[in-house]
Symmetry: C2
């Protein structure tokens, strides 16, 4: 047998080439030949490791979901026990908003996939499933905080969580379109976390 190639590694390289194109030139600029060129291989190699273009697109979507999940998990879930409830929300929402260049590119690709899924049934199943896990986790956490007295009793945890996630998505769109800076988006999130959890002590000036 020939060179004995690691198929998973090859597929990973091609998937990353695909996402690089999708995030910089859009999902409609993704073609078999473009992926090959971006990855520095021939067209045949792309065909060899992926049966279909659809398989390639599916792989890109899966990798993207894994990346976003990883980002949220690394920022928050690792030491979720040690963080305050507010800290958890800051971490999760901060992980959703595009901050550095890489997360911006990933958000761009994700937006492209999401939009394509709205009119393409082949992508809808994979891209339009609601990520219940994150929402449930935050709702549970916020409900607990409310029972502990850290959240006003007239707040509805489910609605508050749904709001913050939808708000983060809306802000993300505006950051991607460069209508708002990352800092401005973060400020808006913080404003609402302040209201949610009351005038927090973190950076309050010392009492005179």
């Amino acid at each position: 047998m020939p060179k004995q190639v690691d198929h998973d590694e090859r597929r990973r390289q091609l998937t990353e080439a695909l996402l690089r194109i999708a995030s910089t030139r859009g999902l409609q600029a993704v073609s078999m030949r473009e992926i090959a060129a971006e990855a520095g291989v021939s067209l045949r190699v792309v065909q060899y490791y992926f049966t279909d273009k659809q398989a390639l697109l599916d792989s890109g979507l899966a990798e993207l979901a894994a990346r976003l999940d990883r980002r949220v998990r690394q920022r928050a879930a690792a030491d979720t026990g040690r963080l305050s409830t507010r800290g958890v929300f800051e971490a999760v929402l901060g992980a959703i908003l595009p901050s550095d260049e890489q997360s911006r590119l990933d958000s761009l690709a994700w937006t492209a996939y999401y939009t394509a899924a709205l009119t393409d049934p082949a992508l809808a199943a994979a891209a339009l499933t609601r990520p219940d896990a994150l929402e449930d986790f935050l709702t549970t956490r916020l409900t607990t905080a409310q029972q502990a007295g850290d959240l006003a009793s007239d707040r509805d945890p489910r609605t508050e969580v749904a709001t913050l996630l939808a708000l983060a998505n809306g802000l993300t769109a505006s950051v991607l379109g460069r209508q708002r800076s990352h800092a401005a988006a973060t400020a808006i999130i913080d404003y609402h976390l302040d209201r949610l959890f009351g005038p927090t002590a973190t950076l309050r000036p010392p009492p005179d």
Copy 2:
């Protein structure tokens, strides 16, 4: 001369055919021939009334912006004087969220354009300009309400408006993806308007 055709009317028909395709099959499904078929004319006619595909896309974007502007204006700005500040916000935000089938289709097309503009410089200039007018109008209105004592003094009108608009966009995305119903999105908006303007009197049960 021949049939003496109304060029503007012809262009309007073709633009609407374009938007019909973009909102149901996506912007990447829009081709000259598809537009011709959708409008029931020949390819040559499409070429005759639009010099470019780019001109066609620009026309679609302009029509879309006009429709959304019209929707907001009809719901709110016409009798903005007679409405309460809360009523204005309900009207504007309700006009942004896709409600009936037509506004859903328009929102789909708008989302497709916005996403395409993120990676296509030819669309970026027209689609990624911040609609300052609406935001400024609402901010002014909210500031006035605050001065009249209808809004708690520790609220920041600018941030509140930016939040509600970004929230409406985020909720719109979830409604388009059928992850949330229109009613659920409206409930979330109302929840926050309740908090903004205090426990409102509109539907409060009569005091015993």
